[in-house]
Amino acid sequence: MFKELDPILHSQLRLAVMSLLISVKEAEFVFLKEKTNSTAGNLSVQINKLKESGYIDVVKQFKDNYPQTICKVTPKGVDAFELYVKALQSYMNPSSNK
């Protein structure tokens, strides 16, 4: 029986953002934009979806008079990411599901 893939994570940009955030403690919006080669508008929408799902925390603050958005993966996000990877692996190696 195949595990169902989390629809929140099974989207290219959201998965890219989660993969980046899982590797670091926290990252700025600009960092995520540069690494994912996405537009600010699209990234902003996807980040909001991840935030609404409780997978990431978003802190908006000011740094040297400039707005700064810091994203950080939550424990719920870590669990969801691990489950997603396990589900993917089960698709790749169906024998492991027996």
Partner: protein
């Protein structure tokens, strides 16, 4: 990056690509190790010269280490300003080096107190025997410092997978053992050697890496 349907393989490829990008997104500027490697080397070599050539400066050269805290703070603040990502191990490293700095300050404080208490004993010794003791407490002080130098250096070198720094830290401990058997003059050369190998050389390596990958250091 557009929103599109992905196969399992594409998802896994994307995950590993992003993890790789995050991993290579930050390199130490190397300025901290360069600064401290230079300062400790200069202080040790000047102290060695003072003992070897029998002269003394009108001030304690080791005060340079106190002055060096200012550029160190500036480096930390500048790096914080340009940094757009924070790694998990950075907090731990901050604690390790802060503890090291405090330990060095405490060791200086302890040493000053021990020396002030032991000085009358040595004066009495000189008075009674008419000669100077071969070893004084100060000839063992370097061993304590080298012991401390090794700890954060080995932790940083090991956790950052920076072998020159790791081996530099090990060398600090080797020099620590040797310095137990050597006099203050040789101890200063051992300190200079340790500072060059533990901080100056790794600092140069880190700086070169940092400048080479400058666009990645967001």
């Amino acid at each position: 990056m557009e929103q599109q349907h992905m196969t399992g393989q594409e998802s896994l490829r994307l995950i590993s690509e992003m993890i790789h990008k995050a991993k290579n997104s930050y390199h130490d500027s190397g300025l901290g190790p360069l600064l401290w490697g230079t300062v400790i080397t200069i202080c040790s070599l000047v102290t060695w010269s003072q003992i070897h050539f029998s002269f003394s400066l009108p001030f304690d050269i080791w005060l340079l280490t106190v002055i060096a805290i200012v550029p160190q703070m500036i480096i930390v603040q500048k790096e914080k300003k340009v940094r757009k990502v924070r790694r998990y191990d950075e907090t731990m490293m901050d604690y390790v080096w802060t503890c090291f700095g405090i330990s060095i300050a405490l060791l200086v404080f302890i040493n000053i107190n021990i020396i002030s208490k032991l000085n009358p004993v040595f004066e009495k010794y000189i008075e009674v025997t008419g000669g100077r003791p071969e070893y004084t407490f100060s000839s063992f002080m370097t061993s304590f410092f080298l012991l401390l130098y090794g700890i954060p250096t080995i932790i940083t070198g090991g956790s950052q997978k920076l072998k020159p720094m790791l081996w530099g830290g090990v060398l600090c401990w080797v020099c620590c053992v040797i310095s137990v058997y050597t006099k203050a003059e040789a101890d200063m050369l051992l300190t200079a050697l340790s500072a060059v190998c533990a901080w100056l050389i790794p600092g140069i390596i880190l700086r070169k890496k940092y400048l080479k990958s400058a666009p990645a250091n967001v």
